[in-house]
Symmetry: C2
Subunit: 313 residues, 2 copies
Amino acid sequence: MQNKITKLFNIEYPIVQGGMIWVSGWKLASAVSNAGGLGLIGAGSMYPEVLREHIQKCKKATNKPFGVNVPMLYPQIEEIMNTIIEEGVKIVFTSAGNPKTWTSFLKEKEVTVVHVVSSVKFAQKAELAGVDAIVCEGFEAGGHNGREETTTFTLIPMVKEAVKIPVIAAGGIATGKGMLAAMVLGADAVQIGSRFAATEESSAHINFKKTIVNVKDGDTHLTLKELAPVRLVKNKFYYDVLELYQKNPTLEDIKTLLGRARAKRGMFEGDLEEGELEIGQIAGLIHEIKPAKQVLLEIITEFSATKQLISKL
Amino acid sequence: MQNKITKLFNIEYPIVQGGMIWVSGWKLASAVSNAGGLGLIGAGSMYPEVLREHIQKCKKATNKPFGVNVPMLYPQIEEIMNTIIEEGVKIVFTSAGNPKTWTSFLKEKEVTVVHVVSSVKFAQKAELAGVDAIVCEGFEAGGHNGREETTTFTLIPMVKEAVKIPVIAAGGIATGKGMLAAMVLGADAVQIGSRFAATEESSAHINFKKTIVNVKDGDTHLTLKELAPVRLVKNKFYYDVLELYQKNPTLEDIKTLLGRARAKRGMFEGDLEEGELEIGQIAGLIHEIKPAKQVLLEIITEFSATKQLISKL
């Protein structure tokens, strides 16, 4: 299955595990990399020293390539980037910010840079900034998301028409059929979030993993659009936000309700009522917590079987 | 390319042209049916006598099967259904209402019934009501849309897991790659709207057709959610609605701003400022107004070519 993306990262399968906050530590990243995909450590929920520890443990747990995902609005961004360079990580996914800011710095250190986008315009900007590839994330994805609300099914072919660099599809993908469909639409690889969040190696709280397994169609919604749009499970906290909206709140009112550490509370501490639960729409297809390696191999098996079936259409 | 859907409708290709208000008259429906797809007359914008005229003209223009799309919240729904039966139409797509209401009546008259849904729950209800197939329409579709905001990429496999009847995917599909991706995800056929709205035979105003061709990623948005969610181009009317939202309006205020005949004004009369312009996200991939037959044949050609390419992955 060699293509542009497997060659770029030197991996076996064109499958990237999303670098999710509170979910993607060294255990998950090394398990995915050992199974032939690209594991990512999610730096967004880590202090620089915690990230250093995760990188060091990941290097011990796998000889295969792995990367780090860095949301660029992170307050200690310089320390995070320096830690990544010091520890010799060779793949960085940047998100939530301008790709111009860090791409040259990283490329000078011979790091492969991938930037996450949610629109054609930002895909073109990332290409101009010199990144090696882009993740194009659709509206159905869990967690933070684009203002344009463009879905994976329409975003991938529109971006593909507009850029030359490789495209990694994200949002709504949890199965081999989803992977094949994304590649039919023009993607060179897929990034998978919620499906890997519900694995044994994920560092999410067991309550959060069980929620992914139990969530059905219609149970998640994009909200908090005034701050930064985020797809959440409709739990008590979500309905508290809805109730506040009825009162014509100011931005400050919304920030006050949100407070701090809601995502940690929900995803890491397992508070299903007061925490933010960032889960994608495709969770309606996820029915079991499994080892990451099994998830990856099932995706590859279904991908190949579906390819065979489709050729007979 | 024979499958469950081509057999159900007795057509050549598993492609349905969406029965869009103000767009899908007898000219478009007969052109699509003559080309081997299933053309639909959109009854939602027609008085019963206008619909009768369109059906009669369609019967003269094609010997192939065609159908009628009926939004069930239509005020003169009984006259519409009686007109359909009197004129001997054998395929009806129902939407915007409970499939129980009309399915038995239509099935007794030996009409093939398809119901449009936007969630797994409504897909199961439609199956229980005895419909022959369902259209599953994702969040990216133009015009009226589901409250769950489930996208095509996630809706199709989730519905497929939940029902046994054939599934027609809609929302975000305009090309042969899109058709193949939908079938990889489990669809038995596709329904295509915006791409057929921008054909020579569409009865939409030329200004509206040109808008479809010019629209880019991010230019449409789902709005008016308090009434019935509808995906519109972000024109003056759309921004007037946004401005009203800033003032914490009542439902009556919103209804007053909407007024009557906004869709006719935009799509049929070509008022691009004050009218409702119902266009799907995939319009970013539509670059030219073409004859309907050419559109259909290009889709089939790209579908086959992509199938070949994919088999080599």
